[in-house]
């Protein structure tokens, strides 16, 4: 209780003075950091610090309840909320301090300075030297918290109720604001599986030309099941759609060969092995031509 008596004094104890000067400086520095730090996280942390110091000041001023509430609500809840949001938005989202609005910085500085000076001047020439500490007030109901409680539940009871309503509507509002309506039905497991597989190539890629029946770049190699695999052709050609089907190519070659052999031998009839053997050279010719086509 002698603490209360101390508080009754019109000037404060040296201890409080020291505490004020030390912590006050820190608080100001914290505030400055809050507005000067590049990253929102740092600002938040500095602000938290300032708030804690303020809590101490509350206590020092005999507002024990408020001091605690300050620590719990502000530093504990609100600042954490800030940090969460900062994370949502992205911790690394450092906004450049370069000013975009012309003259904004100077105007702001000017206004701030003038405003501060004026406030301080105002306080300065306001006659505030009669101090009736909180002793009586706190003592009336036997303690700060009791005193507050008495006031809140008697004098300010309606305001208190209304704040309750306010809080409720605030929470609802927050939910409404942050709630996102789902537009499409939730995915089934099957869809998820397909999503995982689709577009992907499960087995290993074929080595280019392994099953190649052809050495032209733009002709896809054949998979074991005989289907051409576009993966064997360079992406550029794939995108250009300049892929030729090898099987089709082979048939073309054979047709061309038959024509030529007919011209050369001048006789009809099934083509023998010899001719097949001769096809190699013909193939070669064909290759060259194909390559020309491909490169063209």
């Amino acid at each position: 209780m002698n603490g209360l008596n101390v508080l009754a004094a019109s000037t404060t104890s040296t201890g409080e003075a020291v505490q004020f000067w030390v912590l006050g400086t820190v608080a100001v520095i914290g505030a400055l950091c809050t507005i000067l730090m590049k990253r929102a996280v740092h600002s938040a942390l500095c602000l938290a610090g300032t708030m804690i110091i303020l809590a101490v000041f509350y206590l020092a001023n005999g507002a024990y309840f408020l001091g605690i509430v300050q620590v719990v609500v502000y530093t504990g809840a609100i600042m954490m909320l800030f940090l969460f949001v900062v994370m949502l938005v992205g911790v690394t989202a450092a906004d450049s301090l370069t000013e975009t609005l012309k003259g904004q910085r100077w105007l702001a500085a000017l206004c701030g300075l003038g405003f501060g000076v004026l406030l301080i001047a105002g306080i300065g020439n306001a006659s505030l030297n009669n101090f009736s500490g909180l002793g009586a007030a706190n003592g009336a109901y036997g303690g700060n918290v009791e005193g507050l409680a008495a006031l809140i539940f008697t004098k300010y009871v309606f305001a208190f109720e209304i704040t309750g309503a306010l809080l409720i509507s605030a929470t609802v509002g927050a939910m409404v604001l942050t709630h996102r309506e789902r537009t499409e039905p939730a995915k089934t497991q099957r869809e998820l599986a397909d999503q995982r597989v689709r577009g992907k190539h499960l087995p290993p890629l074929p080595a280019p030309g392994v099953y190649a029946r052809h050495n032209a770049v733009d002709i896809a190699g054949l998979l074991p099941d005989g289907t051409p695999s576009e993966l064997t052709v360079s992406k550029t050609l794939r995108d250009r759609g300049q892929i030729r089907d090898v099987s089709q190519q082979a048939l073309d070659d054979i047709k061309a060969l038959e024509q030529r052999s007919e011209e050369r031998l001048g006789r009809k009839g099934p083509i023998g092995e010899v001719d097949k053997a001769g096809q190699g050279g013909g193939d070669g010719v064909a290759h060259d031509r194909n390559e020309e086509e491909a490169t063209r």
Binding site: L101, Q104, L107, A108, L110, C111, G112, G114, F115, L118, L119, A121, G122, N125
Partner: protein
């Protein structure tokens, strides 16, 4: 009896109303109706005249008040008439000559599909002119004054499809309006001076105001007279007015309307008598116009323009006489009447000649017409003799009186005026002889007209010749009738007053001099135009500088054109520009600047919450500062 006075005016007015508003259904009877009503008013006039003769000299004047026209504060104007010897003289002249010219017009305008309207206008003119001479106050006189101006405007511009006619009409009206300024200012002066502008009170109380005021009034009246009577410097319209049909030229621009100025001055004699300076100016104007008109008349080849010049000059005589004061008033009016006869006759003759010559007006294309249109020749000849003042004919008496009066003015003034009038007489003789010779004598100089067929002159129909004959009769005998036993003098003297003046030389001398002057003029003219040896060229020779100037009305038209017309055009055009750029520009400029300013202010609203916040914050700071200051103070 006096209730008849209104009828004098009402009859032709009714005619005008019926003919102008009646529409086509009157086309066939229009001219007859118009003539009948003109005659009616002449008959009434005659009746009033007779009645007036029966009365004693002192109570001859009649008054009739119809109703109160304007009554505001002290400003009292009545529709009231005054019929005294002076007015009745004019009434008879106007309605008489008017009726004759109506008759003449029946024939002259026969082939014009708008004849009905022509007669309507003529009737309108008669009504207005009668109103002018019958009014008993200056404002009502102004009413008639403007009315005849309107009628003359309508009649000069009767052939509106001719731009020249429309322009001439407009010119006549405008010049007359300039004169009207004078009349209206005179009326205002009378109102502010005498508190009234009725003839009786004003002329009665002339003695009670300053001579300067009277001079001002007199000069203003003179300005009005100049406008209406085509006196220098407002004479320019009369020549162009010949664009109108010839009967109009005869009635309005020779016999009656142009003499209204003389009437005004004689009527206001009391004012002029009391304002010698004004009188002097009147005399000067008269003298100048006399010479001006005579000179112009010598140079014109257009027969009507030549006659117009002579009209100008003759009215110059009258104005001069009127300016002489009591010595001259009577003779001014007398010359006015006789002139009304012979000049109307001359014009009608000219009209008849034109009628026979496919409306050719150039005398150089006439010649030798006496055989072809004898009646015209005779009547025109009598008129000619009358106007040059051939002894025994009316012009001789009246003009001689004026010349005597001019001498009787006395002093050097008298000598100057007298010699001018003599010179004028000589010149008159010259140009009238010229007209006569070029028109009726010499060999034929007829030219094919626009359609290409030569004119075949013929005598005009009865309806045209009879009036000419009657007028010729008047122009022969009127003068003698008037002056034998000073009838006219005794008749008018009670109204206008008369002063014998003191002639430095005897009347006989003057008469002799006059005769000499006229013989001189005639012989010169005969030498120049009459001899077979020296035929008149069809195309006008270049002529001397004076001749060329005279042909152009002594250049005063060019002066008007350069100074007034051109200058006016430039003035108005520049004013239009000023109005658009300056006066309006100021307004639009203000609007534009306001718009620009708001556009700039708009830029402050850049939409960034933070800059708004700055202004809020600054505002708070300012508020705090304010409160602190208030506390400190």
């Amino acid at each position: 009896m006096e209730n008849l006075i209104a009828l004098l005016i009402a009859a032709p007015l009714l005619g005008a109303a019926v003919l102008l508003c009646g529409g086509r259904r009157f086309d066939r009877v229009g001219h007859l109706l118009g003539t009948a009503l003109a005659a009616t008013s002449f008959v009434i006039g005659a009746a009033l005249f007779a009645n007036m003769l029966t009365k004693s000299v002192d109570d001859r004047a009649l008054h009739q008040k119809l109703f109160n026209w304007i009554d505001v504060g002290g400003f009292q104007a009545d529709i009231a008439f005054q019929l005294d010897q002076l007015s009745i003289t004019f009434v008879l002249l106007i309605s008489g000559v008017g009726t004759l010219i109506h008759v003449y017009s029946i024939g002259y305008m026969e082939h014009d599909e708008r004849r009905r309207r022509f007669f309507g206008y003529l009737n309108l003119f008669l009504a207005a002119m009668l109103l002018l001479v019958l009014a008993d106050n200056y404002l009502l006189l102004y009413f008639g004054w403007e009315g005849v101006g309107l009628a003359s405007y309508l009649l000069i511009g009767f052939w509106q499809h001719k731009p020249s006619a429309a322009t001439a009409a407009k010119k006549a009206f405008l010049v007359n309006r300039v004169g009207d300024i004078g009349l209206s200012i005179a009326i205002m002066l009378m109102f502010t001076t005498f508190g009234t502008f009725a003839f009786g009170p004003v002329l009665g109380s002339v003695g009670e105001t300053s001579e300067g005021m009277l001079t001002a009034i007199g000069l203003m009246l003179l300005l009005a007279a100049c406008g209406k009577s085509a006196q220098v410097p407002l004479q320019s319209w009369l020549g162009d007015a010949m664009e109108g049909p010839t009967p109009v030229s005869a009635l309005i621009h020779a016999a009656t309307m142009v003499t209204a100025g003389v009437y005004l001055i004689v009527r206001s004699g009391a004012i002029f008598n009391a304002a010698p300076d004004a009188q002097l100016v009147v005399v000067i104007v008269g003298a100048v116009t006399l010479m001006f008109g005579a000179i112009v008349g010598c140079a014109k080849d257009d027969i009507k323009k030549a006659l117009a010049g002579s009209t100008m000059s003759q009215i110059g005589y009258m104005i001069l006489a009127a300016g002489l004061g009591p010595i001259g008033y009577v003779f001014a009016i007398m010359h006015l009447v006789t002139h009304g006869f012979f000049k109307a006759g001359l014009f009608l003759g000219a009209g008849s000649v034109m009628h026979g010559m496919n409306d050719e007006v150039d005398m150089r294309k006439y010649g030798g017409l006496r055989k072809y249109m004898p009646v015209t020749f005779v009547t025109f000849g009598l008129g000619y003799l009358a106007i040059i003042g051939f002894p025994g004919l009316s012009g001789f008496f009246s003009k001689d009186m004026i010349i005597e009066a001019a001498f009787a003015k006395g002093g050097t003034e008298g000598w100057i005026l007298g010699s001018i009038t003599l010179l004028g007489a000589a010149i008159t003789a010259f140009y009238m002889t010229r007209v006569m010779l070029m028109t009726f004598f010499g060999e034929k100089r007829w030219q094919p007209d626009a359609e290409g067929h030569l004119p075949h002159p013929h005598e005009s129909p009865k309806s045209m010749t009879i009036p000419m004959i009657i007028l010729a009769f008047g122009s022969v005998f009127a003068g003698g009738f008037f002056s034998i036993g000073d009838r006219f003098l005794n008749w008018l003297e009670p109204v206008t007053g008369w002063d014998h003046g003191h002639a430095p030389i005897s009347a006989t001398t003057v008469t002799a001099a006059t005769v000499v002057a006229l013989l001189l003029g005639v012989s010169i003219a005969w030498v120049m135009y009459g001899r077979k040896a020296r035929p008149v060229p069809v195309v006008a020779p270049r002529g001397s500088v004076l001749t060329r100037a005279a042909r152009r009305d002594l250049l005063q038209d060019d002066f008007n054109h350069v100074v007034l017309v051109r200058g006016g055009e430039h003035l108005t055009r520049s004013l239009v520009y000023v109005d658009h750029t300056l006066v309006d520009g100021v307004v639009n400029g203000t609007a534009a600047s306001v718009g620009g300013l708001s556009g700039r202010l708009r830029k402050l609203q850049n939409g960034y919450a933070r800059s708004y916040a700055v202004s809020m914050f600054g505002g708070t700071a300012v508020l705090i500062a304010a409160t602190l200051l208030m506390r400190a103070v």
